[in-house]
Amino acid sequence: MSTHPLAAPGPATPVRVSRPRLLARFSQYVGFTPAAVLFGVFFGAPMVMIVLYSFWTQNGYSIESRFTVANYQTIFSTPVYIDTFLTTLWMTAAASAATLAIAFPFAYWLARYVRRGWQRPLLFLVIVPFWVSYLLRVTSWTIILGSKGGLAHLLGLFGLNTPSWFLYDRPAVIFVLVYLYFPYAALTLFSALERFDWRQVRAARDLGATQARALRTVMLPQIRPGITTAVIFVFIPILGEYLTPQLVGGTRGVMIGNLVDNFFEEAQFAQGATVSVLIAAVVVILLIVFRRSLEVGEMYGR
């Protein structure tokens, strides 16, 4: 019988955890319980169901719990699903990039140049659109972008015709998505920039760095988690969007979410679940890729 090298000599005694210690060990997780239940019931269980459905057999209007990979075979062997997926990815990337490109200068200006007393009112204005329902905000764009809408009227004043892609096409979808997700990006970026110590940029400038280099090498690495969070907040929801493309995209602005919607509308749950699982898989891969950027300790040389 071997003994642990660090074990104290003497008769072996069974290790017993005292009752109060057990209680203490358990009680540290009590606060986590509501979140765990919520997560399990409203996220974990539905996710498991979606994965199961994607491997079950659709027979007419009913689903039989017979294992099959036919749903995945159908999706991967039908070019339209791959094409729509790729189109969705580039539209999402374009909308996310545009959102961040607009939100970053705004957040930068707000954090660096606006007096603290004015920052809150301006941020408040950013979130005002949230008071209006999502549906109403998107629908209002169909009026603004329409052939007889405000924008067309404005262009008409300068003798210009409304481009056909203003509404019912991909640019319209991207444009409205940028509008919808701007507040998420702006708020996230502002909270990252607000905590940044601007004296470091001044120090870098004193040491001879140009303004651009100071921002790139000093500021950007430190606010990287904020940028990553903004990307996640914008990119992931846009990837699953179906209402905006349906309202302003016409037949040319379709995204993968619309095809999922079509499956569910006609009670084809197994194939709808399959495409949903594939979207979720892409999201998980992206989160893994982004995970490193979220590790705050790394930039401090942990």
Partner: protein, 367 residues
């Protein structure tokens, strides 16, 4: 042996007491029966939002019958069927379209009933009581509600000559000018009609293939697939779209929205349509269905619903109310007084392979 003989007076008194007792007993039984008939109960109803008025009608039904109606809104027949089937008798009433009604019955979910014994059925057009596929022997499978057939509605200023065929969708001069409600199965069914299918809701693989080719060729004409018919009306009213395939009465709706003159055309290949009804579901509250229908189906509830949704109900008594309320033009435009028209369209029903329909639709309208 002494016989217990009664005097005439005693006999009359006894007779009167007996009659009184019988009468009281009868009243008591009737009262008990009425109490049982009005016992509070909750009716879960799987339906669409144009089937009831939540503000006035449902509270009145509760007051009159003790039945509290709790509507659950469905989207289309397929998902509603699954919900009804999987809910294990949760729903007392379910709404369904045309050929879906016998399908529910074949699946053992509904109870046929003697519709003519329902007092309110006397308000219905006789045509609605003679729908062959809703009959089960001497019984009926559902209580008829409303119907519509689709037409090609077009703006004659831009679309000329008047469309006579679905092939109008292939005309390059109408590129991006057709708008339609996003109803995948119906869109594929219309393409089936265009390519000669006689059974557009149950096409064979070969027919589906032809329908897909037609839709691919017609896709450039499709500007948008909107979620509600108000989207179609808006697009026609503001001139964004020039034509559509929509329910009867779209011309009037466009006019009401301040739009141009819109005309209707019936393509030679035929049109699709729907007629819906309320089914009595197997369950613990089956015996209250008649009471519910007698309260829910009264003509007085229909004018406000008609005003909002503009549909042709099968209730003839309500037509008179609409005429009196000055809504004759609209009622006639939606075919209200022509219930036989309901059966002239290709009617909605379950497909043998619904997945194939969606596959065709997604392949055409995917990116």
């Amino acid at each position: 042996m002494k016989r217990n003989l009664m005097t005439r007076r005693e006999a009359l008194r006894a007779g009167a007491m007996g009659a009184g007792a019988v009468a009281l007993g009868g009243i008591g039984t009737a009262a008990a029966s009425a109490a049982s008939a009005n016992t509070p109960v909750t009716f879960d109803m799987l339906t669409w939002n144009d089937h009831y008025d939540p503000k006035k009608q449902l509270p009145a039904i509760t007051k009159e019958t003790g039945i509290t109606v709790r509507p659950t809104l469905g989207s289309d027949d397929g998902t509603m069927f699954i919900k009804a089937k999987e809910s294990h008798q949760e729903f007392a009433v379910v709404s369904a379209d045309a050929l879906w009604v016998p399908y529910y019955h074949q699946q053992g979910l509904t109870v046929p009933f003697d519709i003519k014994s329902f007092a309110v059925s006397k308000q219905l057009y006789s045509a609605s009581l003679d729908v062959s596929f809703w009959k089960a022997g001497s019984n009926y499978l559902a209580y008829p509600r409303a119907w519509s057939a689709l037409r090609i509605y077009y703006n004659p200023k831009y679309v000329h000559p008047a469309p006579t065929s679905w092939e109008v969708l292939l005309d390059p001069k109408y590129k991006g000018k057709f708008v339609r409600e996003n109803q995948p199965t119906d869109i594929v069914a219309e393409a089936g009609l265009a390519t000669g299918s006689k059974n557009p809701y149950n096409m064979t693989t070969a027919e589906l293939s032809k329908a897909k080719q037609f839709l691919q060729a017609a896709k450039p004409a499709y500007l948008d697939l909107v979620s509600q018919n108000t989207g179609v009306v808006t697009a026609l009213a503001n001139g964004t779209a020039w034509f559509t395939s929509e329910n009867l009465g779209t011309d009037i709706r466009v006019k009401q929205a301040g739009g141009p003159l819109i005309k209707a055309a019936i393509p030679k290949e035929g049109v699709v349509g729907w007629l819906d009804a309320e089914m009595k579901m197997i369950g613990p509250d089956e015996d209250r269905f008649e009471q519910f229908i007698n309260a829910w189906g009264q003509a007085e509830w229909i004018p406000p619903l008609f005003k909002e949704f503009e549909e042709a109900w099968f209730n003839e008594s309500a037509y008179k109310l609409l005429v009196n309320a000055g809504m004759k033009e609209l009622a006639d435009a939606v075919g209200y007084n022509d219930p036989e028209g309901a059966l002239k369209a290709h009617l909605k029903g379950p497909q043998k392979n619904p997945g194939a329909y969606i596959q065709v639709f997604n392949e055409v309208f995917g990116a």
